[in-house]
Symmetry: C2
Subunit: 367 residues, 2 copies
């Protein structure tokens, strides 16, 4: 594990060439096109390189020349803790990472969460040395999206927002999936439903404001996250189709992502409308937390309250949650593929992946 003494000035391809009295091309070829020179000469070069502490062509200089960075950027507009605490998000990243690994690309995490100012986040986006971007779960009005688009690189949008000109998109049919689930719940006989959602806007809230909150018509209309909006619409549609008044749906918004936030939201919903017999959630993490809360209160699921989720994360499946399973990992893979091997046409693609309704053990007739 010993290293050659560091030279005063880092060796470069040119200095190596001078040292060996060959041309720079030859050195370059030794690394990039081994078949373009004799094995013998190549060996001599590699040996000298090792001696001089030359680790091969500088990646940055090469990138400048070849116009390829060998990495894709993942823009995460949520606070980091979000992405790392929701298994669905994580699985997405894992899928993307897998595609990158397979194709030898790096995956650059560009964090532009609320902890930074817009200026700082912009710098991060503008200074990312990548060949393209994947934007995950951005709000419709996310300021960084514009910035990413400005870079004029290939972009793949995941889940939201909708319809960005020139960008491919991968996602699921959130509305249809949620509608099917709601139809199932309503079919079970539920009339009074509570819906727990993730945050609906991207405003920066203080610690204190980040409590669960009731969602009124105004807030609902002002929802900036497409997926949430669509899932809510799915429930509304199912209610309307069943002759229920969509207005009666009690919606609670959760701003946090931790293990108790779902419980807090559930409590608010149940307090607001004590007749609620079913709590639907737009994310499994919310549902699992809500179940913990209910259990602690001695409320039996599904005997007294039906609970449903969305995502199909492993823990939810393990605990028998009735939910919609979406292929998060595959979404990551697809996003990566779309970016790395764009379809021949060059035209943007809309890739809608299938979901599956899983009837678990947490939904039953009203108690």
């Amino acid at each position: 594990m010993s290293r050659s003494p560091t030279p005063k000035r880092r060796a470069t391809l040119a200095s190596l060439a001078a040292e060996l009295k060959v041309s720079r091309t030859t050195i370059s070829n030794a690394y990039n096109r081994p078949d373009q020179l004799s094995a013998e000469l190549r060996d001599r070069i590699l040996t000298a390189a090792k001696r001089l502490g030359y680790a091969g062509p500088d990646p940055v200089a090469r990138s400048l020349r070849t116009r390829k960075a060998g990495a894709v950027g993942l823009v995460i507009t949520e606070p980091l803790t979000y992405s790392f605490s929701d298994p669905a998000a994580l699985n997405f990243v894992a899928g993307l990472a897998e595609t990158c690994e397979e194709t030898g690309q790096g995956l650059l995490l560009v964090a532009v969460g609320p902890s930074r100012t817009v200026e700082e986040g912009s710098a991060a986006v503008l200074s990312a040395g990548v060949d393209g971007f994947v934007v995950y779960a951005a709000a419709d009005d996310d300021p960084f999206l514009e910035l990413v688009l400005d870079r004029q690189l290939p972009v793949v949008i995941v889940d939201q927002p909708p319809e960005v000109p020139g960008a491919s998109r991968v996602g699921i049919d959130d509305r249809a999936a949620m509608r099917e689930l709601a139809e199932y719940v309503i079919g079970l006989g539920h009339r009074d439903i509570g819906l727990l959602t993730m945050r609906l806007g991207r405003e920066r809230l203080s610690e204190a404001e980040r409590q669960a909150a009731l969602v009124g018509p105004d807030r609902l209309r002002d929802t900036h996250f497409r997926a949430q909006r669509e899932r809510i619409a799915g429930v509304h549609e199912a209610m309307a189709a069943a002759g229920l008044d969509p207005e009666k749906l009690t919606i609670v918004e959760s701003f946090e992502h931790d293990s108790i936030s779902g419980g807090t939201a559930a409590e608010l919903a149940l307090t607001t409308d004590p007749r609620i017999t079913a709590l639907m959630c737009t994310a499994d993490v919310l549902a699992l937390s809500a179940m913990d809360y209910l259990r602690a209160r001695g409320i039996y699921v599904p005997g007294q309250i039906t609970v449903t989720g969305f995502d199909g994360v492993p823990e939810a499946l393990k605990r028998g949650l009735t939910t919609v399973v979406q292929p998060s990992f595959e979404k990551g893979r697809r996003a990566g593929n779309l970016l790395l091997n764009p379809p021949g046409s060059g035209l943007p693609v809309l890739d809608i992946l299938p979901t599956e309704l899983v009837r678990g053990r947490t939904a039953g007739p009203p108690g």
Copy 2:
């Protein structure tokens, strides 16, 4: 959300300068040193830039010039699924990501898992445009470590291996932590102990070979992962100190990381030595899986079998596992800080973080 029509040739700083008949320096200043030119001129430049679809200085060219990439590389030598399925590893990444976010650096995931050949992995390391590397949980003989070192960039090693010249290291005292835990277990009265470990070598195994395996003296001596080695040593030391024969410790190695692998390993240990009354595990994920297995078999914990873990992941704590809590997130933060703000001395640092023994509900006297 409309974009200016893409020009035939991407706008550059130079083309903008020509267009506006100012020097390149001025354009550069407009972006990098706003105070070096009149607000008026700057506005004119920025407006023209927008019109021409110029998104600001090319990050790669800037990197070449300034010798700063604005990103740190994280070299993950495990298969990706590992890192994304172990909450401890994940938390580490989250901590590192947080530091990066705070300092406006990108985090480049360089995957060099076994799914790629050494050649391919090498290319990934050699072509990463970063200012430094964090190497997480590498084996002593990991081939990529050399490569990373060759790049002559700052390097921070996490957990293992030990003693890389010139590199700072952050980790915990694995041996002492495990010894303390073992002392506790032995103190409870256990004499026959089984130890479930993660893989001990970095050989590439076929699907079929990746079953749990008994670890004999040879394999033990050939352990290439420092942390595992140290934790095992900790148990040995505690046994010796208590007058027990360390040779009697039944050690089982698990090659997988999924939700059943701990159970498979537990089964093998228990079959090998039916007198075992305590199963110690070098990772919580193993212990949790083992507990699932025992429960399925109707074996009561801790009544019939004591189970302990290592790491202190949230689920383990929630389930009352007796374990060692280590500050995974903080490790990530420290690693990032060491890389981004190296200590003034310039000398490598060894940063050993504290751990805490948590006496949960899964350890008791032998049944």
